[in-house]
């Protein structure tokens, strides 16, 4: 469906001109000459865009604008004001009332159509359904022929009669292919292609150059200018179509978002001289620019606040705010800073130029009646601006891609790290679960073993001793009843039976003690080892035969934290041993004390005697069960004592070790981890 444009203007000439231009560009039109007629049309709401003159015979275009913008059904319709402006203030007022754009009269119809199309298409995206082919040819006949050939293929077409119009249409429509005749009035086909190639948005549009000539030089020149394909005018339509199809197949990057250099530009001209300003604006409009005239610096700044422009021409010498000051103000505003600004000056003085440039102007030019240089400089500044935008775009894209690549890499690294962490975690969890169940099983096994050990100990304690008591008791009874009558050998045998029985009893007691030390619960408290040692020594001194003269030295206040019962067993074993193994020396000495220096942060206690000692060769066996260093005849014992000591130390997280020389005594060292 064609977009419909509502045209409101009191001038019949303007209405007819716009109607023709819009219909040629593929629009439907409604034209109104009065506010009253326009109101009726607005009421219908059957339009996609309104173009309003401001001064109308029966009212004000701004009223219509307000009506359109305040009626919900039409509020979203774009409105373009088209008016002869007495002052910049009129333009600003229109834009502030809600106009989407403002083009000054006298207007360039191509520019008005382009602006209108831009407003209608704003927000509409997506690729074209059919390829659009722009034909630039001054011969309507020939253009019509090509048009019918490509239209038969289902392509859409647009036609321009001159190179300038073709360029504007190209920028406006962004065609898929441009077919351009080499021979054109004004700029020729080669120049059209050159200008297309100089435009960032259009330079990739495929161009087919048509020529009447078949000279090889022409083809070379065409290709050098940037044409993709060269075809002669008399080429058969089927060949032309094949060439077009080939061009259409080639992929093209999307440049739709880029602004085109050839798109209509709005130029703000600022000068206090009305004569010069009018002349300048006329010249600019003749070039297709929308020229906005401002008579002073403040007016220019007011305009910039409501409508963006593409370039600024600024007189240097003005009453009130000077050109330099205006320039400085404009360049200080971030949104306007990048707008190309050319200083105009009638003073051909170096200082004035320097002042202008210092104020931030991009270029300067001497005022004169010759406008060609001015226009060329303006074009150059606009192109520079576009290339800057393009470069910035390219840089931003590169930067974005770089960032994306870095982010992707980071994401990949992150997910890999995460995956490996999770795998690690899962493995550790599995291991933990296995270790846990192993631990639970071990704990159960330990508990079972402990229960078994307990009942075993209980049985041993009760049942194993009963027969021993009977053996000993009845042997003793036999000896006391019939001792005198017995053969001495028999008496000796009975004595041996009783001795064995005692040893067996002692063995059972020691084994039970060892078992108890292993499984008994630890109760920690402050224990004074010195006091315990004194008590044990007193017992030993009073035990039969009670005539041993042993020198005992016990360190004062050896206080530790530990289980009193177990520590008592520990000291009993050490001191009993020392007592026992010093029984054959002349001047027995037993020492219990602590070393002056701790080892590995723990206090080291020791029990030293000057008794029989042992061979260090067997030191490793010392703390095993049933390991004895001496025969029973030499020194009585069961070989369980030091194993019990070792368990007690173990249960206190300490260490025990010994040093000895045979015949010179032994020293037992120990630490208690938690003391």
């Amino acid at each position: 469906m064609k977009p419909r444009v509502l045209i409101v203007d009191d001038s019949l000439t303007v209405r007819m001109d716009l109607k023709e231009s819009f219909e040629a560009a593929g629009f439907d039109t409604i034209t109104c000459g009065t506010v009253a007629a326009a109101r009726a049309a607005c009421h219908d709401g059957a339009f996609d865009l309104a173009i309003l003159d401001v001064l109308l015979p029966d009212g004000d275009g701004l009223e219509l604008l307000q009506l359109i913008k305040s009626t919900p059904a039409t509020a979203s319709r774009p409105v373009l004001l088209l008016s002869t402006e007495a002052e910049v203030r009129d333009r600003v007022r229109g834009l502030q009332t809600g106009a989407d754009d403002y083009v000054g009269k006298p207007y360039d119809s191509v520019q008005v159509v382009a602006r209108a199309r831009e407003l209608v298409q704003r927000g509409r995206t997506g690729p074209r359904e059919h390829p659009l082919i722009l034909i630039i040819d001054d011969s309507p006949t020939f253009a019509g022929e090509i048009r019918s050939v490509v239209a038969a293929e289902g392509h859409e077409t647009a036609v321009a009669g001159t190179g300038e119009e073709g360029l504007r249409l190209a920028s406006d429509l962004r065609p898929d292919i441009i077919i351009v005749d080499q021979m054109l009035p004004g700029i020729d086909g080669l120049e059209v292609i050159r200008r297309l190639r100089a435009d960032a948005a259009l330079r990739r549009t495929p161009c087919l150059l048509l020529t009447a000539s078949d000279k090889p030089d022409d083809e070379l020149r065409a290709l050098e200018a940037g044409a993709d394909i060269f075809a002669q005018k008399h080429t058969a339509p089927s060949v032309l179509l094949t060439k077009l199809a080939a061009l259409l197949r080639a992929p093209r990057p999307d440049t739709a978002a880029l602004p085109s250099l050839l798109a209509p530009k709005r130029i703000l001209a600022v000068d206090d001289s009305a004569t010069f300003l009018n002349e300048l604006c006329d010249q600019l409009r003749a070039e297709g620019y929308d020229a906005v005239a401002a008579r002073s610096g403040p007016e220019a700044i007011e305009l910039l606040g409501s409508q963006p422009v593409d370039g600024i021409l600024l007189d240097l010498v003005m009453p009130g705010m000077s050109g330099q000051d205006t320039c400085r103000r404009i360049k200080a505003e971030p949104a306007w800073r990048d707008i190309p600004l050319i200083i105009l000056t009638s003073l051909d003085e170096a200082t004035a130029m320097v002042e202008g440039i210092n104020a931030g102007a991009d270029d300067y030019i001497a005022k004169s009646g010759e406008f060609e240089i001015l226009k060329a400089r303006l074009r150059a500044q606009l192109r520079r601006r576009q290339f800057e935008d393009e470069n910035r775009d390219v840089r931003e894209q590169l930067h974005r891609r770089e960032m994306e690549a870095v982010e992707m890499q980071a994401l990949r690294d992150l997910s890999e790290t995460r995956a490996s962490l999770i795998a690690d975690l899962e493995r550790k969890n599995t291991e933990l679960a296995q270790a846990n169940s192993a631990l639970v099983a071990a704990k159960e096994a330990t508990e079972l073993a402990n229960r078994e050990l307990e009942s075993f100990s209980y049985s041993v304690s009760h049942d194993l001793r009963a027969p021993l008591r009977a053996i000993d008791g009845f042997s003793q009874l036999a000896l006391s009843k019939a001792g005198d009558t017995l053969d001495p050998t028999v008496r000796r045998h009975l004595d041996r039976v009783r001795e064995a029985t005692q040893r067996m009893g002692q063995l059972i007691d020691d084994m039970l003690s060892l078992a108890r030390v292993t499984r008994q619960e630890i109760r920690r408290e402050q224990v004074n080892l010195s006091a315990e040692a004194h008590a044990i020594i007193n017992q030993l001194r009073s035990a039969p035969p009670g005539d041993r003269a042993v020198e005992v030295r016990i360190g004062d206040n050896l206080v530790v934290t530990g289980d009193r019962g177990l520590l008592r067993i520990l000291l009993e074993n050490f001191l009993n041993n020392a007592w026992k193994f010093t029984s054959k020396v002349a001047q027995p000495v037993i020492v219990f004390d602590r070393l002056p220096e701790p080892a590995d942060g723990a206090v080291v206690y020791y029990v030293r005697d000057n008794g029989a000692g042992f061979d260090m060769k067997y030191a490793a066996k010392l703390f095993g069960v049933f390991q004895r260093m001496h025969s029973v005849e030499e020194f009585p014992g069961t070989g369980v004592g030091l194993a019990t000591v070792s368990r007690v130390i173990q249960r206190h997280h300490g260490r025990v070790w010994a040093e000895s020389t045979v015949g010179q005594g032994a020293t037992f060292f120990f630490t208690l981890g938690h003391s």
Partner: protein
């Protein structure tokens, strides 16, 4: 008046004979009543079972009680003695092989008057019996019989 009887609760015949011999050695002349397990001990004390008809007021001077017994064990016997008003003040000496701390604590906890571990050495045993007899049968003043509620 005849000295009161000693109730010896002991399942092991060897230990019984050694104990009786030890009493004789130590000149303890009291009658000794034997119970070979916990049930017999309780029957004697509470005049039930094989001791039905016995005068319940005739309590022994002392009960020598082994812990590990068939049927009803020594700790249970002790518990019932202490739970009954007639016997709750009766002197009970635990005489056992066990030196397990838990046995000792439980026996005292249930109200044993003394706890003696039978030594393997018979001479030491005789020594223990001598002191036991001297203390519990000669020195010790027993409370008056059967004072319910005291």
């Amino acid at each position: 008046m005849r000295p009161k009887t000693i109730l010896l609760v002991e399942d092991n015949p060897d230990d019984r004979e050694l104990a009786l011999t030890a009493f004789a050695t130590c000149n303890i002349v009291n009658d000794v009543t034997i119970a070979i397990d916990g049930v017999e001990a309780l029957d004697y004390l509470f005049c039930s079972g094989i001791h039905t008809g016995r005068d319940p007021r005739a309590l022994p001077a002392i009960v020598l009680l082994d812990l590990k017994l068939p049927r009803v064990d020594g700790l249970e016997v002790l518990r019932r003695i202490r739970a009954d008003a007639r016997t709750r003040l009766l002197p009970v000496v635990v005489l056992t092989s066990s030196r397990e701390e838990q046995d000792l604590l439980r026996a005292y906890g249930l109200g044993a008057n003394s706890y003696i571990r039978k030594p393997v050495n018979y001479e030491q045993f005789i020594q223990a019996v001598r002191q036991l007899g001297l203390y519990w049968l000669v020195m010790n003043e027993v409370p008056p019989i059967a004072v319910p509620g005291v």
